[in-house]
């Protein structure tokens, strides 16, 4: 079973979703929680089996699909994908456990389980075609969730979401095909295996084109400025569970793909595009933070804050050194936890008042103290306070990029200022002051179902902020392998210089660990 | 020399015949011109040594297809001129001409010919018909059978489609009844459209 654990992880939810159709309507919730819990424990078991000292892929499975073109079902995990997979199972569990939706619960749970399959599939896939298939498949359940359970503008939002991301991924597909064709030209064999592609050193000009093609697909998913406008609509219209999964997991697909595809495949192009992308990332950070500050709807604040944080992640990825990339991977997890929690929290108040406008609230801290406390903790985590989960990632990402450019980091660092501005002012508007709105006078504090979802998130947010080592270590090892690969593959002088060579400093590392 | 004369002669004849077919407003002229054109085309096949194909051309086109057309035209009023609304006749000619010029250009341009090997080389020792038979019943057997079935299907389809209401003979019916029949079918149509 151990050698097939990844396949089980990927297809168990889908299988369970199929069986979900025959489960009775009243017991489907319990069924969903059970399935998600089993899946979550499976993923924890995967973590337990995972060897943190190995940098390469583990639990690889291979089955040829179209052998003529070298397409095969190839999956595996390393330190980078492992925790995002666990995050996916974790959030599916939390999402189903704290589900407050009343309409067509059965369909929703089946959709979520199907979505879980696609998410894990994306992060486990090591074959470009398999990756692409899961990548696109993940759109469908999300489209369905937004379109069927969303707000009044749900059709517009879901179509925008779908078409936008779909357009990007088509360009990406073209890139993938060309990459495979190039591989064929170079080796005489077709292969879509990423691990095979890694071995290929592409000419710099081809790298540029391919990088651009992949970039569009990933950038829209992230979403990077100026391709971000689908996100506020999607979040604004999606039901709570949709926003949670979207923010926590789906956005990470883009940044994950940057690390998995763009960096190791096109090291020279990555270095060449580093500063343009850094500028985009800085725009994302500052601009999204400003827009978030101007919002009137609390969910939009969180939505734009996601964009702002994704900017930091991008910056970390393109720092091209171990500190920065490790930080950005960690920040993906961190942002998943924090933004997921914030969306859940917004959902709590939306369930009670059916509005998300901050002007409708005020003084909630005295009516709902526990809610305000949890929101406060998560807000502080989002702002990046040390000893919360976000800080570790944010610090490492910025630290990493500082190596590449001092002035850019200084500007990007304003993230910690502008982030505090919009978050604190939103918190102030919603929670502080006196209760002016009659409707808020008798609001109930968070109930047990909601706490079931929120408390684990708070625990994780603080636990990983204080003790990030269990995650950082495997991530670090895998990232080191990627950085070394990039350094070895780099052709231009600039890339050689910008990407550190770890093989020389290996001795230095061990002495440092010794003391 | 003889080949050249024959080619140019038949080329000119074919072009004239087909031009008439396309341009005339008399259906009968068009039919006749086309039948003639078909026969002239078979001449090319004979020149090219494809005797069997030439024979088929005459039999199938002039014998069968033209006969079907002739029968078909009996349903329509062929004595009158075909009245057609023309829109942008120049445009049509320019477009057709342009397509021709382009294809000619492609044909005349040096085609990169890299050792095309004949799959089924022509063996001059064997007669054309025999050779055709050899190829047709070995390599192209399945397509041949399929074509045969297709023809059968087409034949039945033609009969079924054209044979509707064949129990009523339009030639023997009184004028009023025909008008009545047309009217009822017209209402049928309007009903269908209503759906």
């Amino acid at each position: 079973m151990q050698e097939h654990i990844l396949s089980i992880l990927i297809f168990f939810p889908a299988l369970a979703a199929m069986f979900g159709f025959v489960v009775h309507k009243d017991s489907v919730r319990a069924y969903g929680i059970t399935v998600a819990a089993i899946e979550f424990f499976l993923s924890l078991w995967l973590w337990n089996l995972y060897d943190p000292m190995t940098s390469g892929m583990q639990f690889m499975e291979m089955a040829p699909l179209v052998s003529a073109f070298g397409i095969s079902y190839l999956v595996g995990v390393d330190g980078i994908s492992l925790f995002i997979i666990i995050l996916s199972t974790f959030f599916t569990l939390i999402g189903i456990a704290s589900l407050t939706e009343k309409r067509r619960v059965k369909d929703l749970i089946i959709t979520l389980l199907f979505l879980e399959m696609t998410m894990i599939g994306v992060f486990a896939a090591l074959d470009a075609i398999v990756f692409y298939v899961f990548w696109e498949l993940s759109l469908i359940p999300m489209l369905y969730i937004i379109g069927a359970w969303g707000g009044p503008l749900r059709i517009y939002a879901s179509i925008k979401f779908f078409l936008y991301t779909f357009t990007g991924s088509l360009v990406m597909l073209v890139g993938m095909l060309f990459m495979a064709y190039f591989y064929y030209q170079a080796t005489g064999q077709w292969s879509f295996s990423l691990l095979e592609w890694y071995r290929l050193i592409l000419p710099v000009n081809i790298q540029m084109w391919l990088f651009a093609a992949f970039f569009l697909g990933f950038a829209i998913k992230v979403p990077m400025f100026p391709f971000h406008t689908w996100l506020p609509y999607a979040h604004g219209q999606a039901p709570t569970i949709g926003s949670v999964i979207l923010a926590a997991i789906l956005l990470k697909m883009g940044t994950y793909a940057f690390i998995r595809f763009s960096l190791p495949l096109f090291p020279d192009a990555s270095v060449a595009f580093m500063f343009p992308i850094a500028i985009i990332a800085i725009i994302m950070i500052v601009y999204a933070a400003m827009v978030a500050y101007a919002q009137e709807d609390i969910k939009q604040v969180v939505a734009y804050s996601s964009i702002s944080h994704m900017g930091v992640i991008i910056l970390g990825i393109f720092s091209m050194n171990v500190e920065g990339i490790t930080g950005s991977v960690f920040l993906m997890i961190a942002h998943g936890v924090v933004s997921g929690a914030l969306f859940l929290l917004v959902g709590v108040i939306y369930d009670r008042r059916h509005t998300k406008l901050m002007s409708e609230f005020g003084g909630l801290a005295s009516v709902m103290p526990r809610y305000a406390t949890i929101f406060g903790i998560m807000m502080m985590a989002s702002v990046g306070l040390p000893l919360t989960i976000n800080f570790v990632g944010e610090f490492l990402s910025l630290l990493g990029f500082y190596k590449q450019s001092h002035s850019y980091t200084l500007v990007a660092g304003t993230a910690i200022i502008v982030g505090a501005i919009y978050m604190l002012s939103a918190y102030k508007k919603a929670f502080f002051g006196t209760v002016t709105n009659e409707k808020n006078k008798n609001l109930k504090d968070v109930n047990r179902t909601e706490l079931l979802g929120l408390v684990p998130l708070v625990v994780v947010a603080i636990w990983l902020g204080v003790y990030p080592k269990p995650l950082l270590e495997p991530i670090n090892n895998s990232v080191e392998a990627i950085v070394q690969l990039m350094h070895d593959k780099a052709q231009t002088l600039e890339a050689k210089q910008r990407i550190p060579d770890l093989s020389n400093s290996a001795g230095l590392n061990s002495t440092q660990e010794a003391h | 020399m003889f080949e050249a004369i024959a080619f140019y002669l038949f080329a000119a004849l074919t072009i004239i015949m087909f031009t008439i077919t396309v341009m005339t407003s008399q259906a009968l002229y068009a039919l006749t011109a086309m039948a003639a054109g078909m026969i002239f085309i078979s001449a090319f096949f004979f020149i090219l040594g494809a005797d069997f194909l030439g024979a088929i051309q005459i039999i199938v086109y002039t014998g069968a297809v033209m006969a079907i057309y002739a029968f078909g035209m009996m349903f329509f009023d062929t004595t009158r001129n075909v009245i057609e609304k023309r829109s942008n006749p120049q445009f049509v000619v320019v477009l057709g001409g342009l397509a021709a010029v382009l294809v000619v250009f492609i044909v005349l341009a040096p085609i990169v010919t890299t050792n095309l090997n004949a799959n089924y080389p022509i063996d001059l020792a064997v007669g054309n018909t025999q050779a055709i038979g050899m190829v047709l019943f070995t390599k192209y057997l399945v397509p041949f059978e399929l074509a045969a079935v297709m023809l059968l299907v087409a034949m039945i389809a033609g009969i079924v489609l054209a044979g509707k209401k064949m129990d009523k003979s339009l030639t023997l019916m009184a004028e009023e009844d025909i008008a009545l029949m047309h009217a009822s079918s017209a209402t049928e149509i309007t009903q269908e459209e209503a759906y």
Partner: protein, 629 residues
């Protein structure tokens, strides 16, 4: 000794978590007493550690790894050495006193339990800040105290002004924190470590301009926390918080963290005296600047806050001139008497039903005798009259400036000393002497609970003796770590002239203050409408300028970014592209008119287009190939 270190560090955290358990529960004295008890434990542990350190040892422990990525390795490491133990003593003493005091002060507040939770959390963060053995650990504490400060300033969250002030404090501190992070980044990429010992051992190997930049960035970080100009406005506004908070956080401990940072990083600043001069000049400027605002203010707590600001300026002058131990010494002495002053102000506020305008008080010495005595004591110490604490620490800074030949700084500081004496006693005179103006408002003051006064007593004692008794042993201890510089004016005549001159100047200022305000308060309309008065009263219009130049335009810009750029440009472009495609379909669907003939024409057009493309591409391909050949 490690056990004591952990007790000293984690006892406040335990207290905080314990109080947090009762966060939503109704008020129970248990939380206050437990938190105070645990802090006392922390204090005792700190004292034991102090004893240990006095014997010449230091304690350095590494609890566990925190962040390890790439070459970066940051543990939770704690060090107790001469500098940090001084801070630990200051923090634990003042916070224990403030905790006990708060049991009385907050007795009637609904958020009693919550308050103790926050307050103890603050002490924990402060302990982390001073005990950490690396820069990032310091940063944890740095942000932690920022968070607690936010929570405590906004403690009465239903007040708009309180929450606004809380956010202002947090955001302003964040601005400085960014600079500090950049400083940390520079240290890491240049030295490969953030541990104090590694950094300080290798800092001299770096090129000068990098050290300078590191020094500048770290100092900007310190400026935020210590509310130096131009990041000073939050401190006065922070007075919206409960008074014990002001005493602990915004007078004694947190705001001095900046000074602590500069002192701690003295091996860096020792290499860059030019930056030191800038720090000292800024400190002197802030000292005078803040004192001038305190002269006319009519809000008791704000006056004390400006006084704090002014004294922080003094500390930075000392630190900037390389007299690190002097800065730390003044930090300690100041913590005692300023906390005392604030707690006294708290008593007055309670008695006056939260009235803050001293012009509406007066003659309180009758009903609040002990408060009067303690506050007067604190004010005397603040003014720097022999033999109280302020004399030893503050006059020392004047001497430092003099000995180092920075006569401009010296003059400014001397002038400020006079102003300090004046506004301190203006406050004392207005509150405790003269007519009982508060009777007009129907307020009948009463003395605070006795145990609160007892709680304040240790601070009173320390304010008196801290300078006299501690100076020499402290100097001997702390110079193990800090540069041992003695500042003696060699010429005895000059020394005596200076000392006595300063004393006389200060006494003159006190006398003037008493004379002007002790009897009857005459409001001089002409002075008040004067430009200078208006300037000072409105804090040089700086908050207003910030509001106009930064806050409002930022909000406007944000609205613009959202409504105009995001919705009307970025999103509209996307929608526009979609619309173009949609419109194209809408326009061209007439092509599908169902007429076979026109469809055939379209087909032929398509054919022609394809043929053209074929010809063009073939020609292009051939051209390229021919070229290649």
């Amino acid at each position: 000794m490690e056990v004591y270190l952990y007790i000293a560090l984690f006892a406040p955290l335990v207290g905080s978590l314990f109080a947090a358990l009762f966060g939503a529960a109704p008020k129970t004295y248990l939380t206050g007493i437990a938190a105070s008890g645990l802090l006392f434990t922390s204090f005792v542990s700190s004292a034991i550690l102090l004893n240990y350190v006095l014997a010449g040892h230091t304690v350095h422990v590494e609890m566990m790894t925190w962040i390890a990525a790439g070459d970066l390795y940051i543990p939770f490491g704690f060090v107790v050495d001469q500098v940090s133990v001084t801070m630990m003593m200051v923090v634990s003493v003042v916070s224990t006193v403030v905790h006990v005091y708060s049991i009385g002060y907050m007795a009637h507040d609904k958020g009693f339990n919550r308050f103790f939770s926050y307050l103890s959390a603050f002490v924990f963060s402060m302990m982390v800040l001073v005990m950490s053995d690396n820069f990032l650990g310091l940063f944890i504490g740095w942000e932690g105290v920022g968070l607690c400060s936010w929570l405590l300033i906004g403690f009465w969250y239903h007040k708009e002004s309180a929450t606004w002030a809380a956010n202002e404090a947090f955001i302003m501190n964040r601005i400085a924190d960014l600079a500090m992070l950049i400083g940390i980044f520079m240290l890491y990429w240049n030295l490969g470590s953030l541990q104090y010992d590694v950094v300080f051992a290798n800092i001299a190997t770096l090129p000068m301009h990098i050290i300078t930049w590191i020094g500048i960035f770290l100092f900007i970080g310190a400026m935020g926390k210590s509310a130096q100009f131009p990041l000073h406005t939050w401190l006065a506004d922070a007075m919206e918080g409960p008074t014990p908070v002001s005493a602990l956080i915004h007078a004694a401990t947190m705001v001095t963290a900046g000074v602590y940072l500069v002192v701690r990083a003295n091996p860096i600043y020792g290499l860059i005296p030019e930056v030191g001069i800038v720090i000292a000049s800024l400190g002197a400027f802030v000292a005078l600047f803040a004192a001038s605002m305190a002269l006319v203010n009519r809000d008791m707590k704000r006056i004390i806050a400006y006084s704090t600001l002014s004294q922080l300026g003094y500390m930075f002058v000392a630190a900037g001139l390389g007299a690190y131990w002097v800065a730390l010494f003044h930090l300690m002495a100041h913590a005692f008497f300023k906390a005392l002053l604030f707690l006294g102000a708290g008593n007055v506020m309670h008695a006056m039903h939260d009235e803050l305008d001293p012009f509406k008080m007066g003659g309180l010495k009758k009903s609040m005798k002990w408060t009067w005595i303690l506050m007067t004591l604190a004010s005397v110490a603040l003014a720097g009259i022999y033999p109280l604490a302020g004399f030893f620490s503050k006059d020392l800074i004047l001497e430092v400036a003099f000995v180092e030949h920075h006569y401009v700084l010296y003059t400014v500081l001397l002038l400020t000393a006079g102003l300090t004496a004046f506004y301190s006693f203006r406050l004392v005179a207005l509150i405790f002497h003269g007519n009982e103006r508060h009777l007009e408002h129907g307020i009948h003051p009463h003395e605070a609970y006795t145990f609160m006064l007892y709680a304040m007593a240790p601070l009173g004692v320390l304010a008196v003796i801290a300078g006299m008794a501690f100076k020499t042993p402290y100097y001997l201890m702390v110079t193990h770590l800090l540069p041992a510089m003695t500042y003696h004016i060699h010429n005895h005549t000059t020394f005596w002239i200076m000392t006595i001159g300063t004393q006389l100047f200060v006494i003159a200022a006190i006398t003037y203050a008493y004379k002007k305000y002790a009897k009857a308060v005459k409001v001089d309309k002409k002075v008040e409408s004067g430009l200078l008065y208006q300037l000072l009263y409105n804090q040089y219009f700086i908050p207003k300028i910030y509001d106009e130049v930064f806050s409002k335009p930022y909000l406007k810009l944000s609205k613009l970014a959202w409504k105009e750029i995001d919705l009307k440009i970025v999103d509209a472009t996307v929608d526009g592209i979609a619309n173009i495609i949609y419109q194209t379909g809408e326009k061209t669907h007439t092509m599908q008119d169902g007429n076979l003939s026109s469809m055939l024409r379209w087909m032929v057009i398509g054919l022609v287009v394809l043929l053209v493309l074929a010809v063009a591409f073939t020609a292009g391909y051939n051209a390229v190939n021919l070229q290649a050949m």
